[in-house]
Every structure is written in structure tokens, then in C-alpha cells.
Symmetry: C2
Subunit: 360 residues, 2 copies
């Protein structure tokens, strides 16, 4: 086993900014995109941080993604809008569209922005943390290229379509909900395959729709299952939730949906393209449009403490609050640096050598 | 096994109206509440229809629920509001608050209404079907008395907290998503206990937090599990979703949340009450605030057909579209009548005898 290398957050952030700027992003956009990547690495969502930097840079260099998109509002009301992302990086288009949703909420109580013609936007949690800074309840969703089977179906028809929402506390940290609507992430399948161990039933099916316990079966034409896994355990609920995210992000915006959602950095959209790029959906609600914000935050504190005080199930440390693991990762990683697995570290070192941009 | 009796929809509807009016509801409210109950019975959600009529009537008669609530807007912006339901039936308060959310959406693109001091509101699907009639995307959520354990916790801390949202098609029927955030409904535990059969692992835990396969264990202080069931299968996702519904419905409105949500028709709120009654959360979005509604509906048709055409998993008929089972039940039940299990039929016959209101 190769050693995990650790990098200070600022080093990875600066490196990302310089690489993205070299690839054609305006300075402010490079910084914004690097912020989104860093949020993933800090919060322990390693699959969505600098591990993807090469993919982004390659897509920009080859013109698959537009480095200088001009966002266009294609339809708008006081509290809603659809934005065309001009095939920009989701890491740039997403934050700007989210900002529009937040501005609308500050003006009128709530704001909702659907986005089409965009690409992978990083972690959904980033967007709802931005809303927290303005004392708003933020929502973020995106569709993504298909990896997940519908319940009772064979094949990849839905993305892992994450959903995020956050609520501020007063003395307690916020509740930050951010999860993919598949039973597990593809990353867990990758890890099992690398380690040569079986995966639990309920994670995936093979190419013929049978429950898969060999992770290789997912690579060989299989698919992930939606959360709930089987009909008996509520797989129709995860499937419905993934479809909700797909319709709000993909259909409402005029993007591609379901099996047509293009993979990140793929030059061609799948045959039968039904819209432009992938889609996001952002929302924001003013807390004081419903209740005194101080009262709300005191109740959130009370709720958080009440759930933390629940007796633990055997063999566990008791309930967590959504967002706990990510916040704990961030504290450690800000202090100790961000550990990168050897292939990711090697990839960044290679990028540094290719471009002459130093890594640290 | 006793025979299932079948009643025409109009008979149950008329009976509900007369019973609720006798219990003190103004005529318009009795009809509204009966509509919501009938929607459940027609759509095959038997646990939420006339099976609960006695509970509602008793709660009204004893003054536990206010038969003539005066709804009060306690806070409002152009697109948001909090409504105090004056301890009315959720079947009356819910539709009126939902109407406010829809009116706001028609005015300003989106509308969001949180409700406190209310009671059980029937099926969440009713509300989003109302929105469809106005060409809106409707959202409905409610919290409810605690039955569900948080992941890694022992005890009942969350309601089954349903979430509903619907999207209209053009030639295809709408996508109607409506599900509880627990792995299964309590009704499935009841059925297994009555039949004396074990329940699958993943549905529930016992009083000590161990996986329960004896349905009796749930009655003996156990709890349902959130959808996803275990950490390995994504139980943290169902738990987070249940908490989202709880915060939006309970905390944002100033109602009770989590373990404090009062049971329907319980005279006293649990010790340590943190708000008024239970809470709902309604939302509505104008489709034409984002995209041409005809284009949206054509894409929904395409999506629906695409998912229906997915190859079926072994032993299944292929993927359903959310809302299919309920719509099929409604077609059959409008034609053939609504089947009631013997205890429910007997209960209605007894109500008829007690009140002199004929059942058919």
C-alpha cells in the first residue's frame, strides 16, 4: 500500500486556481471553482475535489466545456428563473445561479433557479452552506449521467442525483443534509473492486438485473440501486426521489434528463439528446418569512441536542446530526492538511510537471 | 376470514360529510375534509381514509380538535407565510393553507406556507393533486407523532413524515410522488402481526435497538427504521430526509417536532411540548416561471415513456411511474366501489347506528 500524501488546503486551493486559470477561466471564476473543489476536499468528499481537477482541465482545454460562459436568463419571474449556463463548468455556473436564487429570496421571501446547459457542479453541500451565510435555508439538487436503475428496471437510467438542504442553529452547528439518492456512491463500488471484496446485496444489480455482490458486475453493464434498494425495503421511495431531482433539475430547466444526461467531459451527448447539458435546481427561503430567526435557531439547537441525546443503538455511538461527519473532517483537514490517495497525488504532481505550476 | 364489504365512493363521501357536520364542522369544511378522506380511499391508501373517521369524529366531539378553526396568518411575505391552524382538523386546515401557497405561486412564481397548530392532514398526495389542477408543481409535507428511530438511535424520535410532489404530463398521466420517509408504513407491521408472520430485517428495531423480525417487538416499545434501514444501505439518507420534513413542517412553523409531535386525537401534547400541534409545509411553483408548460409536459411524457420502456428486472413487470398504483386503484374503485376490511366496515356501521346517519 502506497503512502497517503497530505497537502495543506491553501496549497491545493492555489494550485486549482492556477490550473483553472491556465485552462482559460477568468481569474474570479477560477477562484470560485477552486472554492467549490476545496469545500469537497475539506469536507471529506474526496471524489468531488481535486481528484477531478484533471478532468475539468482537460474538458476546458479540449473545448468540451466553455471556459468563459456567458450566463443567460431565459425566463424569469420575481421568484423563479431558468438560466442557460452556456456549457460552462458547473463549478462556476452553479454558484452564480445559486446566488440568483438567494438574491430573489432576500427580495421576495423565496427564490428558485433551474439551470440547463451546465456540467458537474461539485458537492451539493457547497451551495446550501453559501445560503447559511446569508441566513437562508438553501436547497441544491443536480442530475448527472446515468448510473442508477429504476426500481424493477434493468440498466442505468438515473444519475446519483443528490439533494442538499441546510438549517442554521444558534449555538449548535447547522444541520447540513447532502446525500445522493442512490443506495451508495459509485466510489464505494470502486473501493470494493480495488480491495477484491464483495459488495452487500442492495447496492447494485448486474447487467441482467440480478442482485450483484461482485463489484465488477457494476462495471460490466450493471447499475447502482436507488436508496431503499428493493421493493420490500422501500426502493420505490429512493427511485421516486431520484426522479424528483431529475425532473426539477433536468426537465424544468430544459436540460437532459435520465439516461440522456451527458457524462462529465464527454464530447458528445448521448444519442437522442433531449435538452442542453445537465441541469441543476437551486432554492432559497428566508427564515424570517416564516418565523423569528432567533426562535428558529433556538429550536434547531434544541432539536440537535435532543437527537444527540437519543440512546445509542448497540455497537454505535448514537445518532449523528446530518453534516457532523463533514464538519469533523473539515476541522481535522484544516489543521492537518488534506490527505490524497496515491493515484490522485500522482495525478496532481503530473499536472504540475506538465504545466510548470508548482504544487506547494 | 370475514368478507370484505364494498361501498360506492359517493356513499362513503356523503356519510363522511354528514358525520363531520354532526360533529360540528361547518358544511363547506365537512365537504372539504370528506374530499381528502375520499382521495385516500380511492387511491388505495386505506389507512388514511374512512378508517380514521371515528378518530376524527371522537376528537371533534370531545373538544380535542376545534371544529370551527379560524386560521390566522402569523407572518407573511409575498411568497411565504406561516399559518396557525387554530387546532383544526388537518383535513380542513391543510387544504386552506395549500390554497394560500398556490395563490402566492400564481401571483409571484412560487409560494410556500408552513402550518402550525394543526392535526393529521390525510394523504400528502391530495395536496399536490390540487396543485396539478392549477398547472402548478405542488409540494406537501407533514410531520407526525414519533414512530421512527434515527439511524444509530433507539426509540421513536421522528414521524413517518411524508413528502409529496407532482409533475403534470401532456398525454401521459402525471408523475405523483408521495411517500413516507420510513422504510415501511406502520400498517405493514400491523398486517404482519395479524397474520402472525415475521417482518424482514430493515423495517424495524426492538426496544433495545436490535433488528426486529417479530412485529410484536414494534408494539413493545420498538420503532420503525428510516428508508435505507441500515448505515450500509443508506439509512442515514432516510433519516436526513425525515429530519428535513420535520424541520420544514415543525420547526419553521413553530409547531412541535420530533418526539414532541402530538399523536392524532391525543388530548395532551407530550411533556416538554416545544410548539403548537403538528406542522405541515406546502409549496407551489409555476411551471411557466421556468419553461413553456407545453414543452415541460411533452418532456414529462417522453420521460414517462422512456422509464416504462426500461427492460424489466427478473420477476417484475418493469418500472412503474410514481403514482401508477394509486391511479390504477382509483380507476377500479370508482367503478367497483371501495373495499373496506371488516373492522372498518363494522366501525362505520356502528357510527351509523349511533348517529342515525345512514350508511348508503
Amino acid at each position: 500500500m502506497l503512502e497517503v500524501k497530505t497537502y495543506p488546503a491553501e496549497v491545493l486551493h492555489e494550485f486549482s486556481i492556477r490550473l483553472l486559470a491556465l485552462a482559460g477561466l477568468p481569474a474570479a471564476d477560477a477562484e470560485l471553482a477552486a472554492d467549490v473543489l476545496l469545500a469537497a476536499d475539506l469536507r471529506g468528499i474526496d471524489s468531488h475535489g481535486v481528484a477531478r481537477l484533471r478532468g475539468y482541465v482537460d474538458a476546458l482545454r479540449t473545448g468540451q466545456v466553455n471556459p468563459a460562459p456567458e450566463l443567460r436568463v431565459v425566463r424569469e419571474t420575481l421568484t423563479t428563473a431558468t438560466v442557460d449556463g452556456d456549457n460552462g463548468l458547473g463549478l462556476v455556473v452553479g454558484p452564480r445561479a445559486n446566488e440568483m436564487a438567494m438574491d430573489k429570496a432576500l427580495d421576495a421571501g423565496s427564490g428558485w433557479v433551474a439551470v440547463r446547459n451546465t456540467n458537474h457542479f461539485g458537492i451539493a453541500g457547497y451551495y446550501v452552506l453559501q445560503a447559511l451565510e446569508r441566513d437562508l435555508v438553501g436547497w441544491a439538487m443536480t442530475n448527472s449521467s446515468a448510473l442508477v436503475a429504476p426500481l424493477f428496471g434493468v440498466g442505468r437510467m438515473l444519475g446519483t442525483n443528490p439533494l442538499a438542504i441546510a438549517f442554521p442553529g444558534h449555538e449548535e452547528p447547522p444541520i447540513v443534509i447532502d446525500f445522493a439518492t442512490s443506495a451508495v456512491s459509485f466510489g464505494k463500488i470502486e473501493i470494493a473492486r480495488r480491495q477484491g471484496i464483495p459488495i452487500p446485496e442492495g447496492w447494485a444489480i448486474d447487467v441482467r438485473g440480478r442482485p450483484a455482490t461482485d463489484p465488477q458486475a457494476v462495471y460490466d453493464g450493471g447499475a447502482l440501486l436507488p436508496v431503499g434498494s428493493t421493493r420490500e425495503l422501500g426502493g420505490h421511495k429512493g427511485y421516486a426521489l431520484a426522479m424528483m431531482v431529475d425532473v426539477l433539475s433536468g426537465v424544468l430547466s430544459g436540460a437532459n434528463w435520465g439516461p440522456f444526461a451527458p457524462a462529465f467531459a464527454i464530447e458528445q451527448q448521448p444519442a437522442g439528446s433531449v435538452g442542453d447539458g445537465i441541469g441543476h435546481f437551486f432554492g432559497a427561503l428566508r427564515i424570517d418569512g416564516f418565523i423569528d430567526p432567533d426562535e428558529f435557531k433556538r429550536q434547531v439547537d434544541h432539536l440537535v441536542r435532543t437527537f444527540r441525546a437519543t440512546p445509542p443503538a448497540p455497537g454505535t455511538g448514537g445518532p449523528l446530526i446530518p453534516g457532523d461527519p463533514e464538519r469533523e473532517a473539515e476541522i481535522l483537514r484544516r489543521r492537518d492538511g488534506i490527505p490524497l490517495i496515491p493515484p490522485v497525488a500522482a495525478d496532481l504532481e503530473a499536472l504540475a510537471a506538465e504545466t510548470g505550476v508548482p504544487l506547494g
